[in-house]
């Protein structure tokens, strides 16, 4: 028995040492999250225009066309919670910051159900992965007791990314996407699951709370808070419901009742009808991103 327990003890120690090594190597991998974290930690003083939000903004605005000091801190699949936490963390120490541009797509206020157990497994898994990435690479916990940084335990270690470079964005945080996907009109389209009124009420209240907090932080630090709804392709708009749009605009009205917010809805803008500017039904490609960056710059006088 002693011999067996001795072997298990050695194995146990070795196991935890190897776990530590794997976690360390994984945390050293370059990716969009680690780069954006590094940039904000080291270059935030240079930022004049900060872009926040999810892929609707990350891929839809080319920051190099937004004037000096623009940086995209937006990241795909991001829930607004992280935008609020990132802004809260850095805004007090960004002396040159003039405006924060936040992208509010049609889906996110209803869709990113971090709390709701009824969401499907795939959605839940994506959310868990997001929590892991933010904890591991941007050092933002979802809550005080969260231990999502343990990638091995969570099953989020991707062997192909254990060592190496997975950085996809440029030096301004922009992830350029050229061309179109196969079946691009179907990809990322609004499906019947997106707009679920049974979740919407609670979800929208939470979303509004975070948006309001971002507006409050901007107001407190005398920074313009600009919210935009990026354009989508006609195939996407065909499935958009007026009920959803009313809720979306209601969120802005609610925030505006307490803090100043500049808002522009480009969702159905006639200028963005061409197929060639879309990567898929709801995301602009690099051609569209150039167009849209110049438009936003002009509309808001940046």
């Amino acid at each position: 028995m002693k011999r067996f327990l001795g072997a298990l003890a050695i194995g146990g120690i070795a196991f935890f040492v190897f776990c530590g090594i794997v976690e360390y190597f994984q945390s050293q991998v370059d990716n969009n999250y680690s780069y954006k974290y590094w940039y904000m930690e080291n270059r935030r003083h240079k930022v004049v225009t900060l872009l926040l939000g999810d892929s609707y903004i990350e891929n839809a605005i080319n920051p190099s066309l937004m004037g000096e000091g623009a940086f995209t801190l937006a990241s795909s699949s991001r829930w607004i919670y992280y935008d609020d936490k990132l802004l809260e963390k850095y805004i007090a120490d960004m002396p040159n910051l003039k405006q924060v541009i936040f992208g509010m797509g049609y889906k996110p206020p209803f869709f990113k159900s971090y709390h709701f157990p009824k969401t499907d497994d795939k959605e839940h898994e994506n959310n868990e992965h997001e929590k892991y990435m933010y904890e591991k690479y941007m050092h933002i916990r979802y809550d005080d007791n969260s231990n999502h940084w343990l990638g091995l335990y969570r099953g989020f270690i991707d062997p192909s990314t254990l060592i190496g470079n997975n950085l996809l964005c440029d030096s301004l945080g922009y992830e350029r996407v050229d061309g179109q996907s196969v079946n691009w009109q179907l990809e990322h389209n609004v499906d019947s699951n997106v707009f679920r009124l049974e979740y919407a009420k609670e979800q929208v209240a939470e979303y509004t709370g975070y948006l309001k907090d971002m507006a409050r932080l901007c107001h407190l630090h005398k920074v313009r808070f600009i919210v935009i709804t990026p354009p989508c392709h006609a195939s996407y708009i065909a499935n958009v419901r007026q009920e959803g749009l009313d809720i979306l605009h209601g969120i802005i009205d609610d925030v505006r009742s307490e803090y100043p917010v500049e808002y522009m809805d480009y969702l159905q803008d006639e200028e963005y009808r061409a197929d060639s500017i879309y990567r898929n039904s709801s995301h602009l490609n690099s051609v569209g991103a150039d167009m849209f960056a110049l438009r936003v710059k002009k509309d808001f006088g940046l």
């Binding site: 194995g11 794997v22 091995l152 192909s160």
Partner: protein, 490 residues
């Protein structure tokens, strides 16, 4: 509690240490030692089981108590007729419970649909207790074996409860026989170093099959089966092949973890899988797949019906009964019954021509490689099993039929080429090949890692546990996302 969960990783060492150090060593002089150790097994097993839903502990306790009581009554019965009555009462009770929880809603729904009646207020809509089919059959085997005189009834209720609820095999088998497992709870267990080491290797092998093979295969399989109408024939065949490996990795992986865990407690469980995909015909496949269930049906259903020593017509009847019941055991769905019928049809020619026991040895015995004929036989048997798994995996007979029709395309055979080239499967195909190679090399052993510590670099007592740790880490890294064990639903 799942074997591949952090809860079990904490639970197992605690139970192991208490089992050997508190309930074996410190109270070893007490005459109550064995009983206390068995009581601890029951408590640990109930914690393990209650982790899902504590309410069903009452059910398993009730089943255990009734089966134990029936055993005593059978043993004490003055006449054979009385003993038979007690045995049948226990069978009816156990199967009745199983029927209520597993089959009642199915029959009511089917009956209502047939006669166009509303099911309002008729359905129970109860959750299926995890592992109910497994422990019910285990309990049944006890009372039948006591009646047949194969085993004496036991007065030791604690040992009996431990036999029914022993946590490694409680929820997904192997379905143990009282003749094998119960006597092990009636005598003092001894810790054996080499058995325990072998147990750890078997657990690792089981984790590899579950986490690396089954969980990775499931990603592709689930995706294709949920969109099967949009997929090409070769993709459908590929998904069916991967499901064939998924269900094997999932279920045999569970069995290996269960058997390996039991070894740590000085308990020997029966083998449940014996490289089934190296079978040369479907009869051999069924001697190697889910052995504990197959032999259960053979001993308690097929042989009492006359087995193969009756007229041809009755042999056909018996074969169909055993396969249909076996299919239905898996769940209340026509797909399982169709799956059973499909295998009965495949089995029938062999049993009628007396060739069902043609291959009782291991394939290519004493040789490194199989002959061309054996390769062809194994390939054909595997392919027949793949077709069967499509029926098993489908949600309805209609879906299975559409899936099979979808496969009937000219380009379907490209699946075998795509098995090695489809980037979406990433490393899964490589792991499947690794598993098959290891199983081939170890086909005469109990599991893929048996005897592996005899290798030169694994003989070192310090290096060996480090290899354990590295293997475990690799399994965790290359493992798919945590997925429930498929057989838990049965």
């Amino acid at each position: 509690m799942l074997f591949n969960s952090i809860q079990f990783a904490i639970f197992l060492p605690i139970v192991f240490l208490l089992y050997w150090f508190v309930f074996d060593r410190f109270i070893s002089r007490s005459k109550w030692q064995l009983r206390l150790q068995n009581a601890f097994v029951v408590v640990a097993s109930y914690v393990f089981y209650g982790w899902w839903d504590w309410r069903f502990l009452l059910l398993i306790a009730f089943t255990s108590f009734c089966s134990w009581g029936s055993g005593l009554l059978i043993g004490k019965a003055e006449t054979k007729k009385k003993a038979k009555t007690w045995m049948w009462l226990n069978i009816i009770l156990n199967l009745g419970i199983l029927a209520i929880f597993k089959y009642y809603d199915f029959f009511v729904s089917e009956f209502a649909e047939l006669f166009n009646i509303s099911t309002d207020g008729l359905l129970l809509k109860v959750i299926l207790p995890v592992g109910i089919s497994f422990y019910t059959f285990q309990a049944l085997s006890y009372s039948i074996d006591v009646y047949r005189g194969k085993i004496e009834s036991t007065k030791d209720i604690v040992a009996f409860f431990a036999f029914i609820s022993f946590f490694p095999q409680l929820v997904a088998g192997p379905i143990e026989r009282a003749t094998n497992l119960l006597p092990q709870f009636l005598k003092k267990r001894k810790f054996d170093y080499s058995t325990a080491v072998d147990g750890v290797w078997q657990i690792l092998w089981g984790l590899f099959k579950k986490m690396v093979i089954a969980d990775n295969c499931s990603v592709f399989v689930d995706k294709v089966f949920s969109t099967y109408t949009e997929q090409s024939g070769s993709t459908l065949l590929l998904a069916a092949i991967f499901f064939t490996f998924q269900i094997y990795g999932d279920f045999s992986g569970y069995s290996d973890i269960a058997i390996g865990t039991a070894k740590l407690f000085g308990i020997k469980l029966m083998r449940n899988f014996n490289v089934p995909y190296f079978s040369r015909d479907i009869a051999e496949f069924w001697r190697r797949w889910h052995i504990s269930l197959t032999t259960w049906f053979r001993d308690y259903v097929y042989i009492p019906l006359g087995g193969s020593r009756v007229s041809k017509a009755k042999v056909i009847r018996n074969t169909f009964i055993i396969f249909l019941v076996s299919g239905f055991w898996h769940g209340a769905n026509w797909t399982f019954i169709a799956w059973g019928a499909y295998h009965a049809i495949l089995f029938l020619p062999l049993i009628l021509t007396g060739k069902n026991r043609k291959y009782t040895n291991q394939v290519a015995e004493g040789r490194w490689f199989p002959s061309l004929k054996e390769i062809g036989q194994m390939f054909l048997t595997f392919f027949l099993a793949v077709l069967g798994w499509i029926i098993f995996r489908a949600e309805s007979i209609g879906q299975a039929w559409e899936y099979l029709c979808g496969m009937m395309q000219f380009g379907t055979l490209r699946a075998f080429y795509r098995f090695f080239t489809l980037t979406e499967l990433r490393l899964t195909n490589l792991f499947v090949v690794i598993m098959l190679v290891i199983e081939w090399l170890q086909r005469n052993k109990q599991h893929g890692f048996e005897g592996i510590d005899k290798l030169y670099f694994l003989r070192n007592k310090y290096l060996r546990p480090i290899i354990y740790a590295i293997l475990l880490i690799l399994i965790m890294i290359y493992g798919g996302k945590h997925a429930q064990f498929i057989y838990f639903q049965f």
